[in-house]
C-alpha cells in the first residue's frame, strides 16, 4: 500500500511536471497547448542527440533548456501571436496542428526508433523502511515541487507574473497599462517550453525517447492541470499526485485494466464537487 502510494506520487510528479508547463502558458496567454508534450518530446530527442555527440551532461542539460526556450519563442512569434485575445478553441486546435507537425518532425529527423537517455539522477533503488524508491523518482518529485513553488511565487509576487495574468484576462486593458503583451507572450511561451524541456529530460529515462513518448502522459497531465484548477501551480502538482496515486492504487487493488480510467473518475467526482478545481480561486463574474 505505502509502496503504491509512494510510487504513485513519483508517477504523479511526472504528470505534474507536464501539467506545470500547460498551466504556465494557460495562465499567461489563455491558450491550451496540446503540443506541450510533443515539445517535451522534441527536447528529449535534442538531448539525446547532444548526448551521443559526446557533450558532458551539464552542457547537454543547458543546451536542451536553451533549445526549449528557443522553440517556445519561435512558436509564439510565428503562430501563437496571431491568436492573442482570440477564442480558446481556435488556438487550442491550432496547437493540435502543431502536435501533428512535431510528431512527424521527430520522425523525419530522428526516425521511428526508440532511443535511450540516461537518468540525471542515480538510478539505484533506495530502501526507506520497506518502501523502495529510485533516485530518479526522488529527483522528479523534487524538481517538480521546486518548479511549482518557484512558479507560484512568480505569479503571486512578481509584477511580471501579475502582468502575465492580466494579459490573459484582458489583453487590451493590459496594453493600456503599458504592458508589452507580445513580449509577455514570448516570455510565457519561452518559459513554458523550458519547463517542457525539463520534463523531457526527466521523463525520457523512464519512457525512453521516441516520437510518441508523451502521448500517454499528456491526457493525465491535462487531467492534473484541470484538477488543480488550471491556474494554480501547486494545484498542478497536487492534481498530478492525485491522478498518479489513484492510478497506482487502482492498478494494485482493483484491476490494472482500469488504471487509466479510474483517475478520470476521481477527477470527475472532484470537479463535480469543486467545479473550479482544487487549488484555484473561482472565476469571478459579478453582474
Amino acid at each position: 500500500m505505502l509502496q503504491m502510494i509512494v510510487s504513485g506520487i513519483a508517477l504523479g510528479a511526472i504528470y505534474g511536471l507536464i501539467a506545470l508547463g500547460i498551466v504556465m502558458v494557460f495562465k499567461a496567454t489563455g491558450i491550451l497547448n496540446f503540443a506541450h508534450g510533443e515539445a517535451a518530446m522534441l527536447s528529449a530527442f535534442m538531448a539525446y542527440t547532444l548526448m551521443v555527440s559526446g557533450l558532458p551532461i551539464w552542457a547537454v542539460v543547458l543546451l536542451t533548456l536553451l533549445f526549449g526556450a528557443a522553440l517556445g519563442m519561435v512558436i509564439e512569434r510565428f503562430i501563437i501571436r496571431r491568436f492573442i485575445g482570440k477564442a480558446l478553441l481556435s488556438s487550442a486546435i491550432c496547437t493540435l496542428g502543431l502536435f501533428l507537425v512535431f510528431g512527424d518532425l521527430a520522425i523525419w529527423i530522428w526516425g521511428k526508433d526508440t532511443q535511450e537517455l540516461p537518468s540525471l539522477f542515480p538510478n539505484a533503488p533506495i530502501d526507506i523502511g520497506g518502501v523502495i524508491v529510485s533516485g530518479q523518482d526522488l529527483g522528479v518529485v523534487l524538481v517538480c515541487a521546486i518548479l511549482a513553488a518557484v512558479l507560484f511565487g512568480f505569479f503571486r509576487f512578481t509584477r511580471l507574473g501579475i502582468a502575465m495574468q492580466a494579459t490573459m484576462e484582458n489583453p487590451v486593458a493590459a496594453r493600456l497599462m503599458g504592458i508589452p503583451i507580445k513580449r509577455i507572450y514570448a516570455l510565457a511561451w519561452g518559459i513554458s517550453h523550458v519547463i517542457a524541456a525539463i520534463a523531457g529530460l526527466l521523463i525520457a529515462p523512464m519512457t525512453f525517447v521516441h516520437f510518441s513518448m508523451m502521448q500517454h502522459a499528456l491526457h493525465f497531465a491535462f487531467a492534473a492541470a484541470v484538477l488543480g484548477g488550471i491556474g494554480s501551480m501547486p494545484g498542478a502538482l497536487l492534481g498530478g499526485v492525485i491522478i498518479g496515486v489513484s492510478s497506482n492504487l487502482t492498478g494494485a487493488y482493483v484491476s490494472s485494466a482500469w488504471k487509466d480510467a479510474v483517475p478520470f473518475i476521481v477527477m470527475l467526482a472532484i470537479l463535480i464537487l469543486r467545479p473550479q478545481g482544487l487549488l484555484a480561486r473561482k472565476h469571478i463574474k459579478k453582474v
Binding site: 535511450e116 533503488p125 523512464m206 513518448m213 502521448q215 500517454h216 502522459a217 492498478g251 490494472s256
Partner: protein
Amino acid sequence: FENKAQGISANEIVLGSSQPMTGTLAYMGKAVDEGIRTYFDIVNQQGGVHGRTIKLITYDDELKPAKSVANAKLLVERDKVLGMIGNIGHATNISAYSYSSTKGVPTIGALSISDLTSSPPREMLYVLPSPQSTETAAYIDYAVQELKAKKIAMLYQNDGWGKPAYDIAVKQLDSHGMQLVEAQSFERFATDLTSQVFKLKESQPDVVVVYALGQEAVQFFRAAEKLGWTPTVFGAGGLNDPKFVELLGNTPSQLYVASYYDAVEGDNPAIQSFFEHYKKLYPNSAPSSTALMGYSAAAVAVEALERAGPEPSREKVIAALNGMTEFDQKIGPAITFQALDAGPYSRRGQTGIALMQLKDQKFTPLGSGYIDPVQR
C-alpha cells in the same frame, strides 16, 4: 502480355500495401515496408519474376480501419494493384478485406498474429505469421513441462494484441490444471509500470509471461530491477528484436521469446544475405524480426507470382496461393495454405514458432526447433 486493370504490365507488376506509417505502431509499418522492398529489390535485381519487376505502393493507415479501407480502394481502383501485401493488424486487415474481396483482390500475406484474422478463414485473406494461440500456448507448455513452473503470472498490454494472449494463457494453463497466480495489464505507452510489477512480484511467480513490446517491456525489467526482483520471463514474439536488446542492456533476468523465424543475428544464410541488402538500402534501420515479416510476405508473393506463370492474373495468383503447401521461405517454417474448410488455420501460412533465449545480449534458439502446439 499485359493486364493493366490488374496491375500487370509488360515489365512490371504492382502490389499495394497499407501500413501504419504514422501513429503508435509506425515503427512496425516501417520495418515491414522496408522488409518487403528489400526482398523485391533482390528479386528485381535478379531479373524479376517472369521478366517483370515488382513495384510496391504503400499507404499509411495509422492502423485505423477506416483508413485501411480507403487505402485498399485507392490501391485497387487508382493504382490498380494485382493484390495487397503485408498489411499489418487485425482490424485494418478485416475492414480492408471487406472491400478488396468484393473486387476479387487477394491479400497476399496479411501480417497479424491475432487468431481472429484467420478464424474464420477468409477466402482471399492469406495470413502469414504464426498465431498467438501457438505462441502463448507454447510458453505455457514450456514453462510447465520443461521449467517445471508451479506459479505463473502474466503482464499484458490491454488491447486486441495482449488480451487474447491472456485468454489463451488462461486456457492453456487450465489444460494443465493450473491458474495464473497474478495477471496485470497496462496501456500502450504507459509511463510507469511500477504498480503492476509490484503486484507481480508479490505473487512470487516462477515464470512471468509478458506481453509488452519495446519500451514497455524494458520498463518492466527496469521496474523489476528497482524492486530487486529477477524474474524468469516469457516475452511476446515481437521482442525478438536487436533494438529491444540494445535498449534493455544487461539484465540479470531470464528471458525467453518466441520467434516466427530463425534468429535475426543467427547463422541462417538467407537472413544474413537479406539483412546485408537491407542495410545497403536502409542504412539507418536496424535489422529486426519485424522486417523479416516483410521478407516472409514478399517471399510468398514472389512464389505465388512464379507459380502463376508468365501471364498472371488475380485468379491465377489466388489459385497458386491455394495450392501452396510446404513452401520453404528459407527463414523459418514452411508456408502452407489448406482448403478453406480445413479448419481455423486453413488461411494461416505458418503455425510454428521457435523458442529463443536471451544470452549475452543475443537471442539464441533453444535448440528445440519449431514448436507447434496447434498441430494442424
